[in-house]
Amino acid sequence: MMIKFNQVSKRYPGGFEALSQVDFELERGELAFLTGHSGAGKSTLLKLIAKLETPSSGQLLVNGVHLNQLHKKAIPAYRSGLGITFQSPNLLHDRSVFDNVALPLQIQGMAPVMVGKRVHAALDMVGLLSKEKMLPQHLSGGEQQRVGLARAVVHKPALLLADEPTGNLDPGLSSEIMKIFEQFNQVGVSILIATHDLALIAGMRHRIIMLKRGRVC
């Protein structure tokens, strides 16, 4: 079991309940889509998994870690075991594509020679090997998204979380990105992708988890 939600609720200050009593599981090696209207709680669910938010009630188990009991000091180590990519790729604009993708490995303290090999492999997978020396702002939106993807997988995480990874892209680029996700999934990475683009995922044979007003249905 990669992810297990057990009666998880999240209520924000002010009373808004983004998630109520959510139960769902993601198997190891599974790729699943999380969908629903905006405001249905997709982002909140991903934030809970990334330990960016804490549940108001319920149990949350990710890759063998009980997130409720995770100490603040242990959060960085936990997060460095995940791959996270969001709608805005969150790249550092004063560093080259290579340096951006290398960050997770540098955080782990990997030897620079190894870093080079791994970064090149990740950039090769997303088809951006030729642009490693460029700065992010000189890339197109789709390319930036792919750099973010390369950064999310360069350290070979067991679980990859993606929040609207195709949100800003045209349909052609979107399906291209989805193909990359499927490639990762084929090498064993568990993936949870939040998206509202039903047309895009309808043609793909993966489980779809539907969220409606904070509940799984």
Binding site: S43, L46, K47, A50, L52, P76, A77, Y78, R79, S80, G81, L82, I84, F86, N90, L91, L92, D94, L103, P104, Q106, I107, G109, M110, A111, P112, R151, D163
Partner: protein, 309 residues
């Protein structure tokens, strides 16, 4: 294990180079901060150099603080000689000169008007005197006093006189100046910590987004702190180098004026500049202060920044 250490070391070197480059990209802002730090360091350093010079000067002056031993009368010349040797052999005695009774009389008679008075005296009333200059190590009132007590306890001493009052005063003055210097040092050291802290607080504010991204992908606080700590170290180092430069320029220009003044009084006071050891010391202390300022300010700020999505 060794490889992991080597990797860590290479990341540290990388972080140091990166933060150096980042500072160089904003030369004006960096320079202003560095100069402010340098000025904050220059003041206590000048105090330090000045107290050193004062000490150097007063070592010469303390030669005036001598002890006169008046020997018992009558004593034979051989006894006086033996006494002189005994005094010379004592610990803490730099130089001892015997002035015999006859020499004392001759000296006295040379003074205006004394010759007439001497004529009325049946015999030489003067005792033999041993003038004792303390050794250079005996440089504070307490040691002086101890030496004086030991000399006084010698059998053949009738009376001993210690010319010490002004040495005590001088000592009090140098002590006072040193005390002020310490207070100024402490104040300005905390100024350096605050300057670096405040500068980096702004730097953190400007790099808020970057820190959020780093936290999101699992960077530890130590990893995020690293470049800022190196910035603090660079600020400290550059500030210290400029401070050493400022102090030396100041001492050179003051040195010329002092030379001219001393020349008028037919004296010579070679001014001491900053020694190499002192310069190293300032650089080291300043680096530590820069590091501390960065650590204190950044660590606090970092806790306030949480990643967003």
């Amino acid at each position: 294990m060794l490889n992991a250490l080597r990797a860590q070391a290479s990341y540290h070197v990388q972080a140091a180079i990166n933060s150096f480059n980042a500072l160089c990209q904003r030369p004006l802002a960096t320079m202003m901060t560095v100069i402010v730090i340098a000025i904050a360091l220059t003041l206590p350093t000048l105090f330090w150099v000045c107290t050193d010079n004062l000490k150097q000067m007063t070592i010469d002056w303390q030669k005036g603080g001598h002890i006169s031993l008046y020997l018992k009368t009558p004593m034979t010349a051989a006894e006086e000689k033996a006494m002189l040797e005994q005094v010379r052999a004592m610990d803490g005695v730099g130089k001892a000169v015997l002035k015999s009774r006859d020499e004392g009389l001759v000296e006295l008679q040379k003074q205006e008007g004394m010759q007439d008075i001497m004529m009325y005296l049946p015999e030489n009333p003067l005792p033999a005197v041993i003038d004792v200059m303390p050794a250079p190590g005996v440089n504070d009132p307490l040691k002086m006093k101890q030496l004086f007590e030991r000399l006084k306890a010698l059998g053949q001493t009738e009376q001993a006189k210690l010319d010490m009052e002004w040495i005590s005063r001088l000592h009090a003055i140098t002590g006072f100046v040193a005390r002020i210097a310490h207070a100024v040092m402490a104040l300005l050291a905390s100024a350096v910590v605050l300057i670096v802290g405040n500068t980096l607080r702004l730097a953190i504010h400007n790099r808020r987004e970057e820190i959020q991204v780093l936290k999101l992908i699992g960077a530890t606080d130590a990893f995020i702190l690293r470049p800022f700590l190196y910035s603090g170290v660079w600020y400290g180092l550059a500030g210290a180098v400029f401070a050493v430069l400022f102090v030396n320029i100041f001492m050179l220009s003051v040195g010329l004026a002092v030379d001219q003044l001393a020349l008028v009084y037919h004296m010579h006071y070679p001014l001491l500049g900053l020694s190499v050891k002192q310069a190293y010391m300032i650089v080291l202390v300043s680096i530590c202060l820069g590091w501390l300022g960065a650590k204190l300010s950044v660590k606090r700020q970092l806790g306030l920044i949480e990643p967003y999505t």
